[in-house]
């Protein structure tokens, strides 16, 4: 395993992070460092707790042990107003889109701008149109979320996440449900936004080939633990069976495709 250079300034640190839903342990002591100004990707099988990690970073969930530090502050220890002050600097693209169903596409993207700035209407309009143009949906600005396809809704969510040019953006599976052309555009968009605005990006994705191209660092999670981390090249050459299984999409290996269960034959015979 290669360490992420310790000289790097870190925006987010997770140390010994544990989280359970009831009796089910989801995260079992993970350490993840997110360096400033870079694109860091968290990969892992479905249901390992990647979205949960993002929820812990934004303070929607509280860890049962360990801590999440953002800009040197422990998220779980913040009161509501401090937490909201921190969240103003974060943008998040939800896996489900989470668009406001009573607002048009335009108003969805304008929402954070209206809430947190006093910009004149003409400027809000320009800002929103620029963001919508970047995701290719300027023409869809007056549609309601119910009139969008899943992929379109996610692109609007992406535009909304970056509407205020936050210090840090989290993308929860931005490529899912997009056609190859859009995937290419979104990849470029994430990288360009990151570099030109000096953001820090956290990406959650399964798309190995895509994220290898645009990420600076990768973390592979499995079974509630981080099983490998490093730059894309390091991971490609890793001899860890976890990583090879995941990168090459093999059904058998240390990571399990199945949700924990008893043997299929046993279950069928037990009837």
């Amino acid at each position: 395993m290669t360490e992420i250079e310790t000289s790097q300034e870190l925006l987010v640190r997770m140390e010994g992070l544990k989280f359970s839903h009831g009796n089910r342990v989801i995260l079992d002591g993970i350490n993840i460092d997110i360096p400033k100004g870079k694109v860091t990707t968290i990969m892992g099988p479905s249901g390992t707790g990647k979205t949960t990690v993002l929820r812990l970073i934004t303070g929607q969930l509280t860890p049962s042990a360990g801590c999440v530090m953002v800009e040197g502050q422990e998220v779980a220890g913040l009161n509501r107003s401090a937490l909201y002050a921190l969240r103003k600097k974060m943008g998040m693209m939800f896996q489900s889109g989470a668009l406001f169903s009573d607002l048009s596409v335009f108003e969805n993207v304008a929402f954070p701008i209206r809430e947190h700035t006093d910009l004149p209407e003409s400027m809000i309009r320009d800002l929103v149109l620029i963001k919508l143009e970047a995701v290719g949906l300027r023409g869809a600005k007056s549609l309601l979320p119910a009139e969008l396809s899943g992929g379109m809704a996610r692109r609007v969510a992406l535009a909304r996440a970056v509407a205020l040019d936050p210090m840090m953006v989290m993308y929860d599976e931005p490529f899912t449900g997009q056609d190859p052309i859009t995937v290419g555009v979104i990849m470029k968009l994430i990288r360009t936004l990151n570099d030109s605005l000096g953001l820090t990006s956290i990406l959650v994705s399964h798309d190995v080939a895509e994220v290898s191209q645009i990420s600076d660092y990768l973390y592979v999670m499995s079974g509630g633990k981080v099983v490998e981390k490093g730059s894309p090249e390091v991971l490609q050459n890793s001899d860890s069976p976890w990583v090879q299984q995941f990168l090459n999409g093999l059904p058998d290996g240390p990571a399990r495709f199945h949700y924990p269960a008893i043997d299929l034959a046993d279950e069928m015979l037990s009837e």
Binding site: Q60, Y84, M92, F94, A98, S101, P112
Partner: protein, 263 residues
């Protein structure tokens, strides 16, 4: 013995959970009150909700008020005429509506029409992660979502109850004077003479204000606390209607006892 113990255990745990729920509902109400000042200058939000909460309920309230008043007119007449007191029909219709039926039926109809819609709307915002998304954007859902709806319900209820009573009186008039032949002048003059502004009208208004707070509180709370699944929202919607009906009927008894004496 063991079965009995577990029976009591179950009662205990049910009671404990209900108590915890009641506690959360009160914390919720305090947070809603805390968010109210932020609505100053955001009248747009309140007006939008007044429209969907209040105006949408007008139709059902108008129809119900009119029909209830017509039934009151007919039933009242058949009883009063035996005593030769059919001239008091106006008084009887007005008092029943202003003191009891207006506020109570309006609140229960409100729960079925607007309260259930509020719960479902807020619950679905939770299911589709709109509320978490709002929180991540550092926007307090209590300010954006809960408080405007709460105020809209609070303002709408007394107005709807007044409308219910007014239309009910018209319904009673149509049947009493138009159909069964009570004297026109007597109908109104008896009503004017016997209905007291403070004792009858104001007490009715106080009731509908109390019911407005309770009905809207239950509706927005159930939506906010709903389990974020389709089934959870469906259950929460049902709870809104049932709990509001019980709360309104129970409170009505207490308020009536306090206002009109007897206890």
């Amino acid at each position: 013995m063991a079965a009995m113990l577990s029976f009591f255990q179950q009662i205990g745990s049910k009671a404990f959970l209900s108590l915890a729920r009641l506690g959360r509902a009160h914390i919720f109400l305090l947070r809603t009150f805390g968010a109210l000042p932020s609505l100053w200058g955001e009248f747009r939000l309140v007006i939008a909700q007044l429209f969907s909460v209040g105006v949408a309920t007008v139709q059902i309230i108008a129809i119900s008020g009119l029909t209830v008043g017509m039934v009151l007119g007919l039933q009242g007449y058949t009883t009063l005429v035996d005593f030769g007191a059919e001239d008091s029909l106006g008084q009887m219709v007005a008092l029943s509506l202003l003191r009891e039926l207006g506020p109570v039926l309006t609140a229960i109809l409100f729960a079925g029409r607007a309260g259930s819609a509020l719960t479902a709307e807020i619950g679905l915002m939770k299911v589709t992660e709109q509320l978490p998304a709002m929180e991540i954007m550092a926007v307090d859902p209590f300010k954006r979502v809960i408080a405007p709806r709460f105020i809209a319900g609070f303002i709408s209820m007394p107005l709807l109850a007044a409308m219910f009573s007014a239309l009910g009186i018209i319904g009673g008039y149509i049947v009493g004077v138009g159909l069964v032949g009570v004297d026109d002048g007597a109908f109104w003059s008896q009503m004017q003479a016997k209905v007291d502004f403070y004792d009858d009208i104001m007490n009715g208004v106080i009731k509908s204000v109390v019911f407005g707070v309770v009905a809207t509180w239950i509706a927005v709370y159930e939506g906010y606390e709903a389990t974020p699944t389709t089934e959870g929202v469906a259950k929460a919607t049902t709870r809104t209607v049932v709990h509001t009906a019980f709360a309104v009927l129970g409170l009505d008894f207490i308020l009536t006892a306090l206002m009109f004496g007897g206890l």
